[in-house]
């Protein structure tokens, strides 16, 4: 493994690890605040138990997210000093704003987690809301920085150096809005589905547990709503990619030939040496229609780009297909849930099949997030700043990068195992009290 590949692998691994905690850090506080708000409104103890359980989960996940995020902020320089030396002054702005969002998040999370008995109920709920809002803002600011790497604006190149730097224009780059929207929705959808899946699993074993029913309802309301909206934001993003990174769009679709009225390919395996994508189901005119809104629009194929400016097609295409498939499945499940809720009302969670499907779908959102980032990042190669700086120009001269790569990989595997194990035991398990509470409620009724 050469040093560039080791650096890329370390960055990819660090991001793949952190994004899970980042996404949960965005969405979980929102779920927890909804549960607490329900508790304040209904005075049903179940919601208080739920808010506290979810807060515990958030605490563990936030800590791992905070430290792995710290690692990333340093890794930008440790692995890509060429990039940071060049672009720091252009995209430092969103990172600075993220710094303050992160501050707010950490401060109010401290108040939320440790302040149950120290602040009045409304102030406590407010603290939770601050965590939820600043968590979402943190994510948005970081994705803006990434969007700039895809669609760099806010400077002029003179003799290879950036001049006339305008950090605001850099933040307002054309990829910012679609990318931040897509990622923010993804965070809620993925987290909602995982939480719903866990509680669906518990409900299958213990069908009348009100605790798990309440949890599932909140998680699926958040995850389902965003999953239904997500394809729209995906469409918006694809249209923006078509404009700013046509070669990436061609890689999404395994489109080798420039074609008028290009088809949408579902599945298939791109063969880069032969320049064809085999075994795909082709929807006629689909790609032209989706990317440009016209069935006869011309889609530029990979063959019309210089060979040293094309991303690895197979990885990008396959990852893109997986992401879209997961997203569509989640949307359909969400619609099914909505239909069940309308049809069956109070009994909407009493379908074993529905619960089983939720369990099966629990990880789909995170698979979509991971593959989606593969699409974004691998699809931008060989550039670190699209069209401006190659990844190979940005990498550190430090030799032996395989050592930190392996070290951090092992460290993160260990953390992942411990985190999952703690969450299963401390958070997901049925609380010891719901039966008595349910009985009391039944007696009172």
């Amino acid at each position: 493994m050469d040093d560039l590949l080791a650096a890329r692998s370390q960055m990819a691994m660090s991001l793949a690890f952190h994004i899970i905690f980042a996404a949960i850090g965005i969405a979980m506080p929102f779920l927890m605040v909804i549960a607490e708000w329900r508790w304040l409104r209904t005075k049903d103890e179940i919601y208080l138990t739920l808010a506290k359980r979810w807060a515990k989960g958030t605490a563990i996940l936030f800590a791992v997210g905070a430290v792995s995020g710290t690692v990333l902020s340093f890794e930008l320089g440790l692995l890509w000093p060429g990039f940071m030396g060049y672009a720091g002054s252009i995209i430092g702005m969103p990172f600075s704003l993220e710094g303050f969002a992160f501050f707010t998040e950490a401060i109010f999370l401290g108040i939320y987690l440790y302040g149950w008995k120290r602040v009045p109920p409304r102030a406590h709920l407010f603290a939770g809301a601050m965590v939820a809002v600043s968590g979402a803002l943190s994510g948005i600011f970081v994705v803006i920085a990434n969007a700039w790497m895809n669609a760099p604006t806010g400077f002029r190149l003179v003799a290879g150096k950036p001049v006339d730097i305008d950090p605001i224009a850099a933040m307002m780059n054309p990829a910012s809005f679609p990318q931040t929207l897509h990622m923010t929705l993804a965070a809620y959808a993925a987290t909602g589905f995982v939480v719903a899946g866990i509680h669906a699993f518990m409900l299958l074993r213990d069908p009348y547990n009100r605790f798990h029913k309440a949890a599932l309802a909140i998680a699926l309301a958040v995850g389902g709503t965003t999953a239904i909206l997500q394809p729209l934001s995906g469409d918006l993003l694809a249209k923006s990619v078509a404009k700013t990174q046509p070669v990436k769009l061609a890689a999404f679709e395994g489109q080798f030939q420039t074609e008028q009225g290009a088809p949408l390919r579902i599945g298939g395996i791109p063969d880069e040496t032969a320049g064809v994508t085999r075994y795909a189901i082709e929807v006629p005119y689909g790609l032209s229609l989706l990317a440009y809104g016209e069935p006869n629009a011309t889609v530029k194929g990979l063959n019309d780009f210089r060979a040293d400016e094309r991303p690895p097609v197979a990885v990008v295409h396959v990852a893109f297909q997986i992401m879209v498939a997961c997203g569509v499945a989640m949307m359909l499940i969400a619609l099914w849930g909505a239909w069940r809720y309308v049809r069956a009302r109070r009994r909407w969670l009493e379908s074993k099949w529905f619960l089983r499907v939720l369990v099966a779908a629990a990880s789909l959102g995170f698979i979509a997030i991971e593959t989606g980032w593969v699409v974004t990042e691998v699809g931008r190669q060989p550039w670190i700043i699209n069209g401006v700086m190659r990844t190979s120009e940005a990498v550190t001269p430090m030799p032996g990068l395989i050592v930190p790569f392996i070290t951090f990989t092992l460290l993160y595997i260990l953390l992942a195992v411990i985190t999952v194990w703690l969450l299963l035991r401390q958070v997901a398990a049925s609380p010891p009290s719901p039966e008595p509470i349910a009985k009391e409620a039944a007696l009172a009724a």
């Binding site: 936030f62 905070a66 002054s89 430092g92 990172f95 501050f103």
Partner: protein
């Protein structure tokens, strides 16, 4: 004053706050390892309660330092991250282990053997991380990181694998342990626990003094430019006098159990030490090749960053104050010596 100097000042202020707040959290980890005697369990509990609600917020000061560094002085960030790749990587491992082990300990089962395992990891990471942080700062001050045309020419070991950066590392550890012990005297109203941490603060204070001397002696060869700045400038004498006054006062206040006074003096002492280093190194950002001006980002970036920092501060300080008022306000009936 030029914009870049103001921003460098904000960066140093953030570093001071990181030392005063985040540093003390590491110091807490040190005392977790050295918790002994029949109150060991109570000591650990006190430390955990003191750190729990605030360590994540305190940690963000470090993020702020890094973000200011790479936004306002990108070549300096690139140079430091290249020359000090190894200690920074180790620092990150320390940060990861410290934060996660502390959180895992809080949420894992409360059985003694389980808790002790997390405690051990937490306290070892809390010791290693400040040492590495000191090594990194020491290397930046040493003048051995050489950069030509944006390329680091001094290799990946020479600048930090030397006596001076290591001495600074242990000095940082002693300072953080000292701060933590002083703060902890005010986190409890139990006389015996106060006494425990008073004794620890006094011991750490002695260590701080000895290591400061060692750093000063080693600086003659290890960081000559900064040492010259600290010994010969017009403000050097005033700095030494004030640092000495605060150090002695902190000691005196601890001795006579005036813990509030001790806290103020200890914090002032640490602040002055960091400011003294900053002034001695000014206007260099990385001794001797990168200055604040040569590394500064374009004016537009600096202006916007300053606006962002100002607005951020308006949001941040009230929230921070609220956090500390909830968890650090003196409990009712504040007499320092209640049994």
């Amino acid at each position: 004053m030029p914009l870049e100097t103001i921003i460098a000042g904000v960066m140093i202020a953030s570093l001071v706050l990181y030392a005063l707040l985040g540093g003390a959290d590491y110091g807490g980890g040190v005392w977790d390892l050295f918790a002994f005697g029949k109150r060991a369990r109570e000591q650990r509990k006190l430390i955990a309660e003191a750190i729990g609600p605030v360590w994540e917020a305190n940690h963000v000061w470090l993020i702020l330092v890094i973000v200011i560094l790479f936004t306002a002085f990108p070549p300096a960030f690139a140079g430091i991250a290249t020359a000090l790749h190894i200690p920074i990587t180790l620092l990150l491992i320390g940060i990861v282990l410290r934060g996660t082990s502390f959180t895992f300990r809080s949420y894992d089962v409360q059985r003694d053997d389980v808790q002790r395992r997390w405690s051990l990891l937490f306290s070892i990471a809390s010791i290693i991380t400040p040492v590495l942080l000191g090594i990194i700062l020491g290397a930046i001050a040493s003048g051995t990181i050489r950069v030509e045309n944006g390329v680091v020419t001094s290799g990946f070991f020479r600048s930090w694998l030397a006596p001076f950066p290591f001495a600074v590392g242990f000095f940082a550890l002693a300072l953080f342990a000292f701060l933590a012990a002083v703060y902890l005297t005010l986190e409890t109203r139990v006389w015996e626990l106060q006494e425990d941490f008073r004794r620890r603060a006094l011991a750490a204070g002695v260590a701080v003094g000895l290591l400061a001397l060692l750093v000063f002696v080693l600086a003659e060869r290890g960081a000559p430019t900064v040492r010259a700045g600290i010994s010969r400038s017009w403000w050097a004498l005033a700095l030494h006098i004030f640092t000495a006054v605060f150090a002695t006062s902190a000691f005196y206040a601890l001795w006579t159990r005036r813990y509030r006074l001790a806290r103020v003096c200890a914090a002032a002492q640490v602040t002055l030490i960091l400011l003294g280093w900053a002034f001695a190194q000014f206007p260099d950002l990385v001794e001797p090749d990168i200055t604040i001006t040569s590394a500064a980002a374009p004016r537009t970036t600096l202006q916007l960053l300053l606006v962002a920092l100002a607005l951020g501060a308006i949001l941040l300080f009230p929230s921070y104050y609220y956090l500390f008022r909830i968890f650090k306000a003196p409990q009712s009936g504040t007499r320092d010596t209640i049994l």
